[in-house]
Amino acid sequence: MPTELKTGKVAIHATINTEPTDWLSEPRETLLEALRDRLGLTGSKEGCGNGNCGACAVLMEGRLVNSCCVLAVEAEGASITTVEGCGTPEGLSPIQRCFLEEAALQCGFCTPGFIVATKALLEKTPNPTEDEIRWWLAGNLCRCTGYDKIVRAVQNAAAAMGGN
């Protein structure tokens, strides 16, 4: 059966923060636009539109990606984790708690991207060195903190999650 060339809005089914989710997107919409404008998940942010700041970072099939560089239609059948799936006010993750306790955020705009990126890091490397932390997070820009307290928060989160 030949593959269909999709022209108008496409029905997409994906698993978003463990929930089966269906929506419609035009082919030209990015995953970031779909999350924010179609699904009301405004936690992921647009900072640059071209993969240079990490504010839109999500996990796709467990991999850290910039959702501004993924088309919504590419998410068909995928499992996606956004910051909203990283913890809730009633059930903050250790990463989120450590960011709060270390004052690792000021304006908070880059924070969702950092939370998601940190989650991916600690799943892969439960006990990262400072160099490994900085290397992994180099794609997430923060203009407020100078990164110092973010690194401390990640180190504390690793320890809290039993990384030692």
Binding site: G40, C107, F109, R143
Partner: protein, 757 residues
């Protein structure tokens, strides 16, 4: 007002009240606002750096399916008023209006020319391509020195040079010439043993907040406009929009959303009036966004500059004279922070003979806006590297030099009263005592690179401004604290902490909210390092007022005269009766008695904050790559209300300073077009580009604040470029007099030195 006081709340590190929403992605920023029937808008911008706009044809755009309205400058009323908005700067509202949507000229690449509202953002963008603008390209003026030449192409035919109130005969791109003088510099330089004079050139840089601008506008049928936007000042937005739209401020409500960074760049409006007129035209709420390229091209970066600094020092190491020429490019309209540059260029020093000339110069770049200690960083880059050179020539220790010549209480400064109590000396002493300064430095690193160490000082003023707060006592003893200072760095917490301290309650009982312009009294912008200082001052005053109001309401219940009730912290007592605030709150609530109090305060500007920084760099002499490998920031915070947030301000300012020092610049081609309007090539520091940043908070209490607070947010960006430049010199023996000190420049300087050897 002694720092030896033991505080209950001040000095602790509670979690900020808005933090949970921010780490879970629930906090709502400007672009997150959604309203029913909302439509989407985008802006068309000039591709030319300088052009006459002959005509704009919007018909094809209007005909596109999904387009709801198109606007140009014709849809804005004519405006003429002057308005005060920011840190003591008058804003010409006609210029501001023309900056929103260009009138007869596009004055920079990125200047907004038209805007479209459509049913989707994609359609709006497609429609922009169909707007036909007939431009007559004019020669662009990009370099500040070229712009000052008598035969330079003029941006405004009606702009003259204002020199101390006197208008020049002929029009000029030099909008103003400011002069500050004291003593006799001729005599002073004659007395010097060593005189060093250097010229400096710095490039335009941007505040670089990660959140682009956004605005949402909605009209009510009775002519009331509501605006949602990320802003440093909801009242500033209201005032500007009132002027630009010629609509009464009382009919405009500005709801400040969470803001993803400002640093001075989110005080002037750009999108708000456009959203308003599109909303009025379409009858629908309008959300308008900028992408990153628009942020870089169409908002307010900080000036590129040409600076000359000359300093003379006698045989004993005392400064005998200092002179500076500061030429800042204001962009398309007057109003660069050259005045502040003049105020800060020699601020760390006690001077008898000084002359400072400041020039505000028009060029075909976006209209400059404030960027964290506006005007000071480049000025200190110049002065602190000249000082370093003098110290080297005379064999003086750079920190000892700063102690010897350091500014003290009572010393003169340009354009303002003499310093009151300041901590310049204390900062230098703390730097001397730091582990960093005492750590030995190996100039030859094991990896073959060269290491060096440099120091620099900096200063920034403290604006008092006006702040209002309202407090409402709840029956359970909690207090709603309504304030209007938007929170860009944790000030909700520091303001709540000051209230809690003064009111006698726990921090957790204070529920701070940043509210809209209808709900609280006037607040000046969050900026000028004033928020923890000024709004904290108001919170302290509010606590005292609430206590008095409570006393008034308690007295009849206790059947005593109000003046017999004493309040000590949380304890209310009279003639043997006593109750804690919790008990009083419950009592009043049971009796249905409300306590709602408001204050507005305007503490006068404080003497400000000094900082001294130490930077260690590693230079790869074969490539010119500079890495900052160790950094210590010493800063006088007066009193650190929430130390973690003071540290955060210091670290954030340092990181921005490192970017400014090494990599950030607007790169223009010969046609005046910006080549690097992306975050790929406008290079801000990543996690790998800054070291751990050690912070040392010095506390020399400000005499102007009940807890001694000094503004902390701005001074940390001032010393880094000079400290790094001095460290590079220590490492490889080359002095750079341009910013940024990018690898190509460092490499060329090293090769030139080797070639000359």
């Amino acid at each position: 007002m002694a720092t030896e006081t033991k505080y209950r709340v001040i000095g602790t590190r509670p979690v900020r009240p808005d933090g949970v929403d921010k780490v879970t992605g629930r906090a709502l920023y400007g672009a997150d606002i959604v309203l029913p029937r909302m439509a989407h808008a985008r802006v068309l911008r000039s591709p030319h750096a300088h052009a006459r706009i002959r005509s704009i044809d919007t018909r094809q755009a209007e005909a596109l399916t999904g387009v709801l309205a198109v606007v140009t400058a014709k849809d804005l009323p004519d405006v003429d008023a002057i308005l005060m908005v920011g840190e003591g700067g008058d804003v010409n509202m006609r210029h501001a209006s023309h900056n929103i949507l260009a009138h007869d000229k596009a004055l920079y690449e990125g200047h907004a020319v038209a805007a479209v509202a459509a049913t989707s953002p994609h359609i709006a963008l497609e429609a922009l391509k169909r707007i036909v603008v007939d431009y007559e390209a004019l020669p662009p003026v990009i370099d500040v020195r070229k712009a000052m030449e008598p035969e330079a192409t003029l941006l405004h035919e009606d702009q003259f040079t204002d020199t101390a109130g006197e208008k020049s005969e002929k029009p000029s791109n030099i909008a103003s010439h400011t002069i500050a003088e004291e003593g006799d510099i001729e005599k002073g330089f004659a007395e010097a043993k060593v005189v060093v004079e250097r010229e400096f050139v710095t490039q335009t840089v941007h505040q670089g907040y990660i959140e682009p601008h956004a605005a949402v506008a909605e009209w009510r049928s009775d002519g009331f406009l509501t605006l949602w936007c990320p802003t440093q000042g909801a009242f500033a937005v209201r005032q500007q929009c009132a002027q630009i739209l010629q609509h009464p401020a009382s009919h405009i409500k500005v709801v400040p959303t969470e803001i993803g960074g400002g640093f001075g760049g989110k005080i002037s409006v750009y999108l708000e009036p456009v959203a308003a007129i599109l909303s009025r035209k379409t009858g629908r709420p309008i959300k308008i966004l900028m992408d990153r390229a628009e942020v870089l091209m169409g908002t307010g970066p900080t000036p590129g500059t040409y600076i000359k600094v000359k300093m003379g020092v006698d045989a004993e190491g005392n400064i005998t004279a200092a002179q500076a020429l500061l030429a800042y490019d204001a962009g398309a309209y007057p109003g660069s922070p050259v005045g502040a540059g003049c105020m800060t260029v020699f601020a760390p020093y006690r001077l008898k003979n000084v002359r400072i000339d400041g020039y505000d110069v028009l060029v075909n770049k976006p209209k400059s806006a404030a960027y964290r200690a506006p005007g000071a960083t480049v000025a200190e880059f110049a002065t602190e590297t000249v000082v370093d050179e003098i110290c080297e020539q005379m064999g003086l220790d750079p920190l000892e030099f700063r102690l010897k010549n350091g500014a003290k209480e009572g010393d003169w400064r340009p354009f303002g009263p003499p310093y009151t109590r300041i901590g310049a000396i204390e900062c230098v002493e703390a730097a001397q005592g730091s582990d960093h300064w005492k750590a030995p430095l190996e100039h030859e690193a094991p990896n073959g690179k060269r290491r060096g160490r440099g120091v620099a000082s900096g200063y920034w003023m403290n604006w008092g401004g006006t702040s209002s707060c309202t407090g409402r006592l709840n029956g359970d003893g909690s207090v709603f604290l309504l304030e209007g200072s938007t929170d860009i760095g944790g000030t909700r917490a520091s303001i709540a902490m000051q209230f809690a301290e003064a009111f006698g309650v726990d921090y957790a009982q204070v529920i701070p909210q940043v509210v809209d312009t209808d709900t609280v009294g006037y607040n000046d912008v969050t900026g000028g390092s004033r928020t923890t200082f000024g709004t904290g001052y108001a919170a302290h005053a509010l606590a005292q007022k609430m206590q008095r109001d409570i006393v008034e309401k308690l007295a009849p219940i206790w059947e005593v005269e109000p003046d017999t009730i004493t309040v000590e912290g949380a304890c209310y007592a009279s003639n043997g009766k006593s109750a804690t605030i919790m008990e009083v709150a419950k009592l009043l609530d049971e009796k249905g008695i409300q306590v709602v109090s408001s204050v507005t305060t305007s503490p006068h500007n404080s003497s400000g904050a000094f900082a001294t920084h130490i930077a260690d760099v590693e230079v790869d002499s074969e490539t010119g790559k500079v890495d900052v490998v160790r950094y210590t920031a010493v800063q006088d915070a007066g009193k650190a209300i929430h130390p973690a947030y003071v540290e955060g301000q210091m670290q954030g300012g340092v990181a921005q300073g490192i970017g400014w020092a090494l990599n950030e610049e607007y790169f223009y081609d010969s046609a005046g077009k910006l080549r690097n309007a992306t975050l790929l090539d406008y290079r801000m520091p990543t996690t790998l580009d800054v070291p751990p940043i050690e912070t040392i908070i010095v506390e020399v209490p400000s005499p102007d604040h009940p807890y001694g607070v000094r503004g902390a947010g701005e001074v940390p960006i001032v010393p880094p470029p000079a400290a790094i430049a001095n460290a590079i010199y220590d490492a490889v023996g080359v002095r750079l007099q341009t910013l940024p000190m990018s690898p190509a420049k460092v490499c060329a300087a090293i090769l030139a030195k080797e070639g000359a050897a």
